[in-house]
């Protein structure tokens, strides 16, 4: 296990002062804060101002058939998608995880490309694999799957072997080539 990261209590206090009470929890020394979708952009831009200058990752979890409510947080139970923003500060080495929950249909959050340029491709990947729209993204295209692909493969209702797309190509035989 890694050494315990620096405490983020000061940040949590500042967040509480600015945005009221946001549910948060700690697991293995990692602090997670749940932010409602409507306030996500404000909270993230506030955190960027407070020194979280490195956006480590944006990813998503599809809780379609999760056994229990995610992360002991009763407030988030019932939501389908949980976005994960991993933030870090290069100056103080603090780390903070921000969770934003969204739901079908049309799961949408506001893009953070204007805050961190790193978000550009990370958000495109989440759109590609989970189908979550990022409002205000400058170039929201598929990143890894072909343009003509229709499904979002990392959703839990998409099978591991796919729906036969991988077999859908012309066959070149020895005689023809």
């Amino acid at each position: 296990m890694p050494s315990t990261p620096p405490s983020v209590d000061d940040v949590l206090a500042a967040l509480a002062e600015q945005f009221g009470d946001l549910p948060s929890s700690v697991f293995r020394g990692q602090t997670r804060v749940v932010v409602p979708e409507s306030a996500s952009h404000e909270v993230l831009s506030f955190l960027k101002e407070r020194g979280f200058d490195l956006l480590v990752d944006i990813s998503c979890v599809d809780y379609l058939d999760y056994r229990e409510s995610p992360m002991e947080m009763a407030a988030c139970a019932g939501h389908r998608y949980g976005l994960v923003y991993l933030l870090a500060s290069t100056a103080t080495n603090q780390r903070l995880t921000i969770r934003v929950f969204v739901d079908d249909p049309e799961p949408t959050v506001r893009s953070v490309v204007s805050l961190w340029k790193a978000a550009n491709w990370l958000e495109r990947e989440v759109w590609d694999l989970f189908g979550i729209r990022f409002a205000g993204h400058p170039d929201l295209r598929r990143l890894v799957m072909p343009e003509e692909f229709t499904a979002h493969p990392l959703r839990k209702d998409y099978p591991l072997q796919g729906r036969g797309e991988r077999h859908n190509f012309p066959v070149i035989t020895r005689h023809e080539s």
């Binding site: 890694p2 979890v61 229990e68 994960v84 991993l86 295209r141 890894v144 343009e147």
Partner: protein
């Protein structure tokens, strides 16, 4: 299905470029091209020989690693991580099980920590060797590449003696390792530590002050400190731009806190600086290996029976009741080990940058979600920013210095 035509509407083109738009021509680079090393695709907009804009495209090796992570157990998935950054599989093994052990809350034995540190640093050396060797190859220094590849074969040989596989190792296990390090391996690493500095001196003499190489890399692909942070660069790419961030020092994991080593940084931020940082990091890694090798603690490599993750030894299975029960439970498909219904993120300083896994456990032996945070994606996204205004021949130098591995990029 056909190759999708490039789309430029959404990409910012500098004002000077839009005026002479009519004279621009488009060059498709990849996905099968020797200088892309693997399967990258670039669509370049050229004005004469000058690159006005570049549109990188990826996904030509997307194989659903994250989806498959939801169907393999924590021990099985290590074979898939081998194939992620296949230049340094050992570093991926360590990163994956580091994340799993963080989720499970396992504290490793001291011997295991030191062995993992040694193999992670050897993996870093072999990665940097190939990366710098490829930069040399692309800028015309073939001999340099052969020097680098020869040393990689030596490291392959060490890994083969260690775990039986020369290339895709799958060496780590949850809470331990697949095999212990034998005296023969230690002897081989010791002789590597002795001989490698001479090779690296030779390599530096070949290239570091070589006029052609310096002219082709100095001032090419400059990345400023602010841009590096904003665009999420990590590892040698960020350190060459003056970001003093290295997880080995900032969040010491494994046994790094016990060793004396320097964080290598540069301020220029160009291809030459990235080359220098990698060369210097190899020397620092060698220092860590040398220190660790002489002080490997005695003791078991796997965590104890009470942790219920690693298989107990034969001795324990046959002579203690705890060992028998633990062995039985771990072997049963419906038992396995306990995983909390929780989520955690843990990262290591991989050769390429911060390589982390965000894991969601749901009580099963299989991850509910295994997200990999790959450094290559963010580095490849840097490319248009770095290449603007340089010439076509600089494309290979910049690509090589970013060390983009397609399997890690696309997963």
């Amino acid at each position: 299905m056909s190759i999708a035509p490039p789309r430029f509407e959404s990409v910012e083109i500098p004002e000077a470029a839009t005026r002479s738009e009519d004279y621009l021509w488009t060059l498709n680079f990849g996905p099968q091209h020797p200088a892309t090393h693997t399967t990258l695709r670039l669509v370049l907009k050229l004005e004469g020989e000058r690159v006005v804009d570049a549109l990188p495209e990826m996904g030509y090796l997307h194989s659903g690693f994250e989806k498959i992570g939801e169907h393999l157990t924590y021990n099985q998935y290590v074979t898939v991580t081998d194939r992620m950054n296949y230049i340094s599989p050992m570093a991926n093994n360590v990163a994956w099980h580091h994340a799993v052990e963080t989720l499970l809350g396992i504290e490793l034995t001291p011997r295991c920590k030191v062995i993992r540190t040694i193999i992670a640093e050897l993996a870093r050396i072999s990665d940097h060797l190939l990366c710098n060797g490829a930069v040399g190859l692309d800028t015309g220094a073939f001999t340099f590449f052969l020097y680098a590849f020869y040393q990689r074969e030596v490291i392959y040989d060490i890994f083969e003696t260690l775990c039986g596989a020369r290339f895709t190792n799958s060496y780590t296990r949850v809470g331990g390792l697949s095999q212990d390090m034998t005296p023969l391996v230690i002897e081989k690493i010791r002789s590597f530590v002795k001989t490698f500095p001479k090779t690296i001196d030779d390599m530096e003499r070949l290239l570091t002050r070589n006029r052609i190489f310096v002219d082709r890399t100095k001032g090419v692909g400059v990345l400023s400190t602010e841009e590096a942070i904003s665009r999420g660069a990590t590892g040698p790419v960020a350190r060459a731009s003056g970001v003093t961030r290295d997880l080995r020092r900032d969040e010491p994991y494994l046994a790094y806190a016990d060793y004396d080593f320097q964080i290598c940084c540069a301020s220029a931020g160009d291809c030459y600086a990235r080359y220098l940082v990698r060369m210097q990091e190899m020397r620092e890694s060698l220092k860590i290996v040398a220190q660790a090798l002489e002080n490997i603690p005695e003791g078991p490599i796997n965590v104890g029976i009470d942790q219920r993750t690693a298989l107990p030894t034969k001795q324990q299975v046959y002579s203690t009741i705890e060992g028998t029960i633990s062995h039985f439970e771990l072997s049963m498909s419906n038992r396995g080990f306990e995983v909390p219904c929780e989520e955690s993120y843990a990262a290591i300083e991989a050769p390429n940058g911060e390589l982390g896994f965000y894991l969601a456990g749901d009580g099963n032996e299989t991850a509910y979600r295994a997200r990999c945070r790959p450094p290559s994606v963010l580095h490849y996204a840097l490319f248009p920013h770095l290449i603007r205004g340089h010439t076509l021949s600089d494309v290979v130098a910049v690509l090589g210095s970013l060390n983009i591995i397609a399997a890690e990029l696309d997963r």
